[in-house]
């Protein structure tokens, strides 16, 4: 993509730092970083207008590894810092990089309120279902029963599905990608950037050290065609090696069918409507889990709604236009004042 005016073409190279990222060899983070660096030039934002914000955790080191403005914040508070940045200057393209501990546990409150307010911020949620930087305790997305350093007898907590939380918080954009699919990540990151409103992309990320192969049934090259349903707006929900498997809905429930079996035809398969405001079907898609269903991937929900900063700046413009008070001096001398002497 080229820029008009004086801006020369920017490429993935412009987003690279001199020093290598300090994630473990084989960490999913490296691929996500590369995908972001390759997707950003196509997003059409001036490089000095891009800001990466994060909380604390392995994923949150991201801002140090990309050559933009960056803010490495406090544990869980990246969403609040990003909110301040975006409200202060809506022209900035603000990206929040966070993990399942950072935004599902300690930062859960900020996370849901960011989605509810619908600021135009892009969230990359690295979900490796484990605490990596503190060396292997369970996280709020760790499957129930998992033995970890802090759950020697298996966890007894029900895990969060980030998509459910996003929908419950009235999120307007939810997508899911896997860290070993560069094309999928680039495509979805670009759509997230273009969406007006808070975009949440759940990245199924592998932690080679503390939770290796946690997403293997979805990510494995031999299994992924059977176990991933890649959604595209306006296209039928088909999957499987020969793309003969599909989703139909009867009553309030999804069923997996095979085209050609039991009289099922191609046109019986549900068409994905990511743009629909009603989130009932998006919610059902986000909740599909193996082994009963394939995992829904790609952009599950992408719908328009009022953007916080737009509404705020409209109010500001209106107030500035309407008020006779144009300066602090005007304010100080307005209303009940008394002259003496």
């Amino acid at each position: 993509m080229t820029f008009e005016g004086n801006h020369c073409e920017i490429s993935a190279q412009d987003f690279k730092m001199d020093k290598p990222a300090r994630w473990c060899p084989g960490c999913g983070g490296h691929a996500v970083l590369a995908a972001v660096q390759r997707a950003l030039p196509a997003c059409g934002t001036k490089i000095e207008n891009v800001v990466f914000v994060s909380g604390i955790g392995c994923s949150s080191r991201f801002p140090y590894y990309i050559n933009t403005y960056g803010f490495h914040g406090l544990h869980g508070r990246g969403a609040a810092i990003a909110t301040g940045i975006k409200i202060a200057n809506p022209n900035l393209s603000v990206w929040l990089v966070t993990g399942d501990g950072d935004s599902m546990a300690i930062g859960g409150n900020h996370f849901i309120h960011l989605l509810r307010r619908n600021l135009d911020i892009n969230i990359l949620l690295f979900n490796n279902k484990i605490y990596g930087l503190t060396k292997g305790q369970y996280s709020p997305t760790t499957p129930k029963g998992t033995v970890t350093k802090s759950s020697p007898d298996g966890t007894i907590e029900n895990p969060f599905l980030p998509g459910e939380l996003a929908m419950g918080a009235q999120g307007t954009f939810f997508a899911r990608v896997v860290d070993n699919n560069m094309d999928m990540m680039m495509d979805v990151f670009t759509q997230a950037a273009q969406h007006k409103g808070t975009s949440l992309v759940e990245v199924l990320q592998n932690c080679v050290i503390f939770n290796d192969d946690i997403h293997i049934e979805i990510a494995d090259k031999n299994l992924r065609e059977e176990n991933q349903l890649y959604l595209e707006h306006g296209k039928p929900m088909l999957f499987g090696k020969d793309r003969k498997k599909g989703i139909i809905q009867t009553g309030g429930k999804f069923y997996i069918v095979k085209i050609g079996e039991n009289g099922v035809r191609q046109e019986d398969i549900l068409i994905h409507d990511a743009y629909k405001y009603d989130d009932t079907r998006h919610y059902m898609l986000a909740r599909m889990i193996l082994p009963d269903y394939p995992a829904a991937m790609g952009v599950i929900r992408c719908t328009d709604s009022t953007i916080y900063e737009d509404a705020l700046y409209n109010q500001i413009e209106h107030a500035r236009h309407k008020s006779l008070i144009k300066s602090v001096d005007d304010l100080l001398t307005s209303g009940n004042t008394f002259r003496m002497g």
Binding site: F71, G84, I316, T333
Partner: protein
């Protein structure tokens, strides 16, 4: 034909309004303050209300109060004891008997002085006849009944009708203080601009109160407080919370930065948030965050993006913001944290005043994390110190904690309106686009402040964060000597602020028997007590501190001029212990109060005289 009354001139009068928290006490109080200001009286007010919105009616716990001190001479406090008490029910009378002067005028609403109300107020005997009120000038007015009579023709519902009875009281006071009732009528027209149906009813009740007073035998003399002898200029009545909001606005305008406030509602600081949400026309942003932490973190984000980032709170909220303040210290970004102190710990006394967050402001963070700490000392100078906090924060690129308190926040006084032009300049250390020499942790050699490069600026991309940064480059560094160097640098940066703040002033002689030391919101009471003792020829002076960290450079010099030093504060001794650590060469006496109430002038004078007496003996 008007009744002939004797007009007595008074230098100062203290009036206390008291009733149920739903009685419109605060409204009547602010109406009386505004008209007093309009007439040119100097004034100070102090509202005192329960934490519950509508505490049980008629009970002592539900009594809401508003005290106003008006004067022809300079008024520094809302007054120890009242000359006039308005008690809307027996509970209000009971709760306030110890706060009125001997021989005071007491106006009571007779309609609420019955067996049912006595029981609620836990009166065993009828206070009107058991001698309780002997020696006072009691005006027994059937306020509720007469108000209902007057408003009958306006067809208001019973609740709205009863709410107008505060105007009956106002009318009484207009007569009692020899004031033009038209001023009160104008106030009501402005006040109910958006509810015109209430204007006429309220005005009628106001007039009824005024006319009723005229007929009363009990009012043989009326008082007049002549305009104050303040210098010429434009004045207004302002409370501490509004003054803080406006001071921040002025600083943002001066520094050409957008003001961003990230806050979560908390008593008694919420009004700062509310006030700034009304300032969109001045380009100010006030973001109501989901919690205290989001308030401070969003303000830090906004500062990174080039705004003057501010968060306002009270003690419990300051605790939650500690980690965020540490982040602003290590990222070296401007941040103003306003702490309107209240009684603690925990939820404590949310609507009462206290000065017990000083240690938290100075030290309440992990790691070596020095902060500039300021304290405002009157409702009006909250404007100056909010401005100063913003100036220091932006020029030195570091957080500033401004300590106000519940007394300053809700109290009001007459304020000479400054011109923004005349306020000190503010020069944030901004950077030009594409400055080839820019490095995130390069510093101004004088102040040691790093430079403020803002996202969106070309050629200045950089990263900040909570991990320790290498000197100059700002890259992550775990190097032990770099950490030590950066820790010393951050400390030195705060110490150097002492060179850029005014010297400490002394009220009175620079040498003497006793130096009274105070800080923040106790100024009015300490000033008055010391002034009165000075005019009684005592050798006493006052040093009231606004700059807490760093201390003014002449502090030790001042202390060395006195034989004794007493540090007065509304806590168990936080400032005195800070002084003991900073200037251990002096011996400090203490005067502490921890009742959720301001100092009384009388109790201070007793304590000071006691110290001075011992001084003479020794």
């Amino acid at each position: 034909m008007k009744k002939k009354v004797k007009v007595v001139e008074r230098d100062a009068v203290v009036i206390k309004f008291a009733g149920d928290s739903g009685d419109g006490i605060q409204l009547t109080g602010s109406q009386f303050s505004d008209t007093s200001a309009f007439l040119g009286n100097d004034l100070a007010t102090f509202p005192d209300y329960p934490a519950e919105i509508r505490a049980p009616q008629g009970t002592i716990a539900g009594v809401s109060g508003f005290q106003i001190h008006i004067g022809h001479k300079e008024v520094q406090t809302p007054g120890d004891q009242a000359d006039v008490l308005i008690a809307m029910n027996p509970a209000a009378l009971k709760a306030n008997m110890k706060w009125i002067k001997n021989g005071a005028t007491i106006i009571i609403d007779m309609d609420n002085f019955d067996a049912r109300h006595y029981k609620k107020a836990e009166y065993i005997e009828d206070p009107l006849y058991d001698g309780t009120l002997e020696g006072y000038n009691v005006i027994k007015a059937p306020i509720t009944d007469m108000t209902r009579d007057v408003v009958k023709e306006f067809g208001l519902d019973a609740l709205t009708a009863d709410k107008t009875k505060n105007q009956f009281v106002a009318g009484l006071l207009f007569w009692l203080f020899h004031r033009d009732i038209k001023i009160g009528e104008k106030f009501l027209r402005d006040r109910f601009k958006s509810k015109p149906e209430l204007i006429d009813a309220n005005i009628e009740v106001l007039r009824a109160g005024y006319n009723y007073a005229e007929t009363l035998e009990a009012i043989a003399t009326v008082f007049e407080v002549k305009p104050a002898e303040r210098g010429p200029g434009l004045y207004r009545n302002i409370n501490g919370n509004v003054a803080i909001a406006w001071g921040l606005l002025a600083a943002a305008e001066k520094a050409k930065r957008k003001l961003y406030l990230g806050s979560y509602p908390i008593t008694p600081a919420s009004e700062i948030l509310q006030e700034l949400t009304k300032m969109k026309h001045l380009n100010a942003i006030a973001f109501q965050a989901e919690d205290e932490i989001a308030g401070v973190c969003s303000a830090i984000g906004a500062s990174f993006a080039g705004c003057l980032g501010v968060t306002s709170t009270s003690g419990p909220g300051l605790s939650l913001k500690s980690e965020g303040i540490g982040l602003a210290i290590i990222t070296e970004l401007p941040l103003v944290v306003v702490d309107v102190q209240r009684g603690g710990p925990s939820t404590g006394l949310p609507t009462k005043t206290e000065q017990a967050d000083l240690m938290q402001a100075l030290y309440g963070r992990h790691g070596e994390s020095p902060c500039i700490v300021l304290a405002s000392s009157t409702p009006a100078d909250c404007f100056d110190f909010a401005y100063e906090a913003a100036r220091l924060s932006m020029e030195h690129m570091t957080p500033v904690i401004l300590l106000s308190d519940g007394y300053l926040a809700n109290g009001s006084e007459l304020w000479k309106i400054p011109k923004v032009d005349e306020l000190p300049a503010i020069h944030p250390p901004l950077v030009q686009d594409n400055d080839p020499s820019y490095q995130p942790y390069n510093r101004d050699p004088k102040t040691l402040a790093r430079y403020w490069a803002i996202p969106g600026q070309e050629g200045l991309r950089h990263r900040v964060g909570g991990l320790e940064k290498a000197d100059v480059t700002g890259e992550i560094s775990y190097d032990p000597f770099n950490h030590e160097f950066m820790t010393y640098t951050r400390s030195e940066k705060i110490q150097r602020v002492a060179q850029r703040i005014p010297l400490q002033k002394v009220m009175g002689k620079e040498k003497g028997d006793l130096l009274v030391v105070g800080w923040g919101g106790t100024y009015g009471a300490l000033f008055t007590a010391v002034k009165e003792l000075q005019s009684d020829k005592y050798n006493i002076s006052l040093a009231q501190f606004n700059y807490i960290n760093p201390l003014p450079t002449n502090t030790a010099e001042i202390f060395s001029g006195f034989r004794k030093i007493v540090v007065c504060e509304l806590n168990l001794g936080q400032f005195v212990n800070y002084l003991r650590s900073q200037l251990p060469q002096f011996t400090y006496l203490q005067c502490n109060k921890i009742q959720g109430l301001p100092f009384l002038i009388s109790e201070l004078k007793i304590r000071f005289k006691d110290i001075l007496k011992k001084e003479q003996k020794s």
